[in-house]
Symmetry: C2
Subunit: 240 residues, 2 copies
């Protein structure tokens, strides 16, 4: 029964849609009656909200979601550095962590011009075709990195690197320079530079700046990204 309830919640996608009863029934492959009863319960618990025959995700989920430990602590610690980075570059700034073989974006801040990126706070993307992902990958366990390189490589755009050899080279460069690059691999027309964040032991996150390809100046962005990542790493290592 929990499974069924979770299946209902899992129907919802980033487009922020509100589904009708029949729609949920179809998507979950559950009988209409069952969905009806479960939705009523979920609404009662605040996990769903109802408005005239449509169900949306409920405010309680937002509240619970903002309590999730690793995410919340990290965001709180990182925010000032992300602000610095944004102020220095005035471009879209990301903070992400690794979860399985994907990136989960914990924060994303931007100004008035919004890039058409697939990244979203709370969203997941392949490690291999995002700046943040590559930075995480380059500084993870060697075993894990090899495992990812061995598997099939995802593709978000025609420029996504799906050749393991080329990707390995890129990762080695990142390991040497401490910076990971990504050019139109996640979204056409957007390039990205990223740096890993450490807590003293291992890499715990990475942050990046995404820039329209036309005005991508790595030489100017690199110091800012590096500075932010080092600053955050130092904070995580010492204080708290």
């Amino acid at each position: 029964m929990l499974d069924k309830a979770a299946a209902i919640l899992d129907c919802y996608r980033p487009d922020g849609g509100a589904y009708r009863l029949t729609e949920l029934s179809a998507r979950t492959a559950l009988p209409k009656t069952t969905v009806f009863r479960l939705c009523a319960d979920l609404v009662r618990l605040g996990l769903l909200e109802r408005e005239a025959d449509t169900y949306r995700l409920g405010g309680k989920l937002f509240e619970l979601g903002s309590l999730v430990p690793r995410r919340h602590d990290l965001r709180e610690a990182a925010l000032p550095f992300l602000q610095d980075l944004f102020e220095a570059t005035r471009e879209t700034v990301h903070l992400g962590i690794r979860e399985g073989d994907e990136v989960v974006y914990v924060e994303r801040i931007h100004g008035h011009d919004v890039l058409p990126l697939p990244s979203r706070v709370g969203g997941r993307l392949p490690l291999t075709c995002t700046g943040v992902g590559k930075a995480l990958l380059a500084f993870s366990d060697a075993d894990f990195t090899e495992q990812v390189l061995a598997g099939p490589l995802a593709r978000l755009t025609p420029h996504s690197v799906t050749d393991a050899v080329r990707l390995r080279t890129a990762i080695e460069q990142a390991q040497v320079s401490g910076l990971a690059y990504e050019e139109q691999e996640a979204a056409m027309g957007v390039s990205c530079i990223a740096a890993p964040v450490f807590d003293g032991q291992a890499v715990v996150a990475a942050l990046s700046v995404a820039v329209p390809r036309a005005r991508f100046r790595p030489a100017q962005l690199a110091p800012a990204v590096r500075t932010a990542a080092l600053g955050l790493s130092r904070l995580l290592r010492s204080g708290r």
Copy 2:
């Protein structure tokens, strides 16, 4: 059974703690066996995470939480204006909406110096002793406002206004000026100035700047707050 699962999730508080099985059993007043089974299910669904006999909130909740419609849309639209406001003031900036008779904070950005505020993203506070809350209250239905004024007024600090007459005066001033003030009513030593955000129909949110009392200069903050709120209101009214 959903109720019991929800009760488990509801145990978790902002302090980001991880609870043990026995602790959860005590907090929920459910038999240990039941909690054990439910937690196993919740872990399987990603709603909880387990690490050596302790359970934390799971990453899935973060992902679901960031999909909740009103919150997510509003945050996305507001972020650039919050950035502007932060850059102009370099103080802690809030964005909140009304939910029942409380504020829910949707976003909070700050620099390296963190104020000891009770506000948290995803957290709830009384409408009556926060800047954002007062701004929301001042521009809500008159009926609702009266209803809140009639009820008992919450108190977060010794300075929280618990006298309905004084609060009504403050609200009327906010209605005239379009700005709401709060001085040490949410946290000692912190003052706050807030402005409502409209979507063309009604008030949908409010944003505020919180400042250590020592350097609180309303005359300089007011234009920045007002500008940000108006800019966001204009965007919500027209575009999307």
